[in-house]
Amino acid sequence: MPQINPNMTNFSDLSFIFRFLPIFLIAYYVLPSRLRPLILFAGSLAFYAFGDPKSMGIFVVAVVVNLVLSYRCQAHSKPALIFIVLADVALLLSFKFLSGYGKVPGLPLGISFFTFKMVSYQADLYKGKIAKCPGVVAVAAYFSMFPQLMSGPIMRYSDFEKNKILSGIEDRFLIFKDRLQIYLNRLEEGLVFFTLGFAMKALIADYLAAMWNEIGTIGYESISTPLAWTGVICYSLNLYFDFWGYSLMAAGVGVMLGFPFVKNFDHPYSSKTVGEFYRRWHMTLGSWFRDYVYFPMGGSREGKGKTIRNLCIVWALTGLWHGVTLNFIVWAGVLLFMIIMEKFVWSSNPKLLSIIGRIHVLVCIPVTWVIFALPGREDMFNYMGRLFPVAGAGIAVNPGDFGKLLSTYWGFLLAGLILLLPGVYSYFARHRKDWPVRVLMLILFWICAAIVSTKAGNPFMYVNF
């Protein structure tokens, strides 16, 4: 099967926004409402085929096996649950290792996310949290739904069920005019979130990614210490707005289809401790680990020793989930250390905790993102050596590099820092129904579209050497 255009699966690409999405929405809302789960499933398969046709087989097999086993899980068969959970985890881990050590070119699209949805679905079925057996098509649509296929958010089935448009309950008996009103309201609401995410991605994250790339071009062994620290801020903001922006776009598309808004980020950088940070960063992943790993093992209710053990397991798995190379293990280890210290050492003195916790969140976490960003051991050591120049002065360092990069990118860094203030985003989210905000969103949308238009299908995008 020829790969048509992988950009189709990129939410901030015009091919997705003006080709895939509108065609899908028309099919979703115009065809009979009882077909919606099927349309969602079929559309998601098409989406997968655009993005990663080679892995299509793996994905379809995973969906089918999980569907078959789900009947046993619903009948509270513990062996079935154990089997399917182990199978899903083994599928995920084997690909993590294969790609981490370069045996396969990359992970199958969305494997980290659809396997986690599958595990949570089976566990919820087993525990009886899902009342009646949903139809095969609905569950397949839940596993594969394209807004969350690539990078989450990891929505639970209980939220999936809340979609009254998908099930047709909301509009089945309405006349056309009232239906139209409902659909348009949904679209409008979803588009506000989508545009906010689009702007974060196109106006901030993409530019900071370019800056981070320029730092790499110099070579980590040759950057000045001020630039190394600016790089820490740059990458942290890049990652944050890239992922938050993506999550908002994904949630926005979900809202357009009638799903509840899934919150994935809640101003993590205003947290008081690392523990809190990770309850507010990539929230659907954190709560997944909480509900399906940490709590089943006893959480923090069974004494200090077991709590530490449980935290260790959760963070080891979190590290593995992100990647199997050494840097992810180090990254998770540093975070685990800070969390344990916060929980058992600093907590004895609230004042101390409040100071150390903020330092953790605002200084240590950004540094951990650099570890996260650099899978190569040598790169990591070089970067740390420039951040903390105790071992030597580096090779061919140009002290002017800091000023040069800042003169180009200061505006994007500043915009990112301003958006760290919780009030800015909250204002737009709260006033999203006011027309001035929506007109502003309209303008913002087209600015972003114009910016990304220069990248899509333009082979000369990087002609600025």
Partner: protein, 403 residues
Amino acid sequence: MKTFFQHILSMGILVVALLLTVDSALGQKSAYEEIEYDSLDAPIMSLTLRHVMEGGQPYLIELLRKNIFGAGEEATDISEGENEVITPENEPAGEPENVEQPDATQPNEEVSDGNSDEVSSGDAFGEVSDGNAEVSGGDSAENFEEAVSDGVAAEPEPENDNYVMTAVPDTYFDDALFIGDSRTVGLSEYCEELKGHATFYAKVSLTIYGFNKKEFVVVPIRTEEGVEVPEDQLPKEKVTIEEALTRKQFAKIYIMLGLNELGSGTAESFTNSYGEVVNRIRELQPDAIIIIQGIMHVTHSKSSNDRVFKNTTINDRNAMLQTLADGEHVFYVDMNEATDDENGALGHDLSFDNVHLKAKSYSLWYDYLKNHAFVMEKDLEQTQQLLQQEIDSRAAENPENPE
């Protein structure tokens, strides 16, 4: 209507998208025909968006404006028409993108045709050397020019005026100028030996076509005659390289350009434009030698995965560039010898982004230039003495700071 304004965001996106699509579809064959576009890559509306991002106006608005002016008096109409003829020529030439390539090369080709005629006739050099006599007052270089302009292919010129390739001390580069794109910018930033010594007229995304178009070289303004103000107190202005070369003379001029041009034109059209620039520099800097540097390769992975940035293309163009060297005033060196791996590509470890050298790798480039420099045969001995002194003084310094 009420519904429309209640959903201003959705409706606004829909309406604007439709307008853009119509505009792009109508303008595809005219206003946007130069934009490289594949309908598989992006919706057609991206034509208008990209045109606007490049500073243009949407086709329909342009059309509307023209019609309104057209309804007015005829004079306006004509001036409008003129503007339109001029804009596509001026605008694109400034940009390196392929999109504008036809425009960028066309005028260049015309000019270079004329010029290469002149050069081959031998008269051009005579003219140049005349100018030279006025400027520099007739030194050995002038003699040289005359020898050439006499159309002498034979030997009987003074032997010691020949240039020979040799290793040189760092001071060699004190009166050198480097012209280049971002790679040369990197050299200026990360080569300790050149920093503060050599002069750089280098700019990110510079192309050979930008030689007389991009105003970025910061120089002191021209003073009126008789005004005696120290140079460093004069206000600065930004001028093109061509203009800057009229204000300050150099002894060696290094050029490395051609990466950003890879997506546009052919090896021939590129080399023609390049030769044109070399000739112009010869006119402006008659005492300088010009060292054309072959375009540095990209890494193997870049070369094998990119539509445009391929080492085979670079090699084709380098082979053509080499023909521009005359061995007398214009020389060709290929620093790829210092940075190539076994694939004949830029060494993977030397680069992060597969195109540029890492900071620490620039010394390879510099060392190559230092060992492949050109001096007059009669100065050879002195140069080698200076080099030996440099080596000795380094050796004398080293025991004091053992690693």
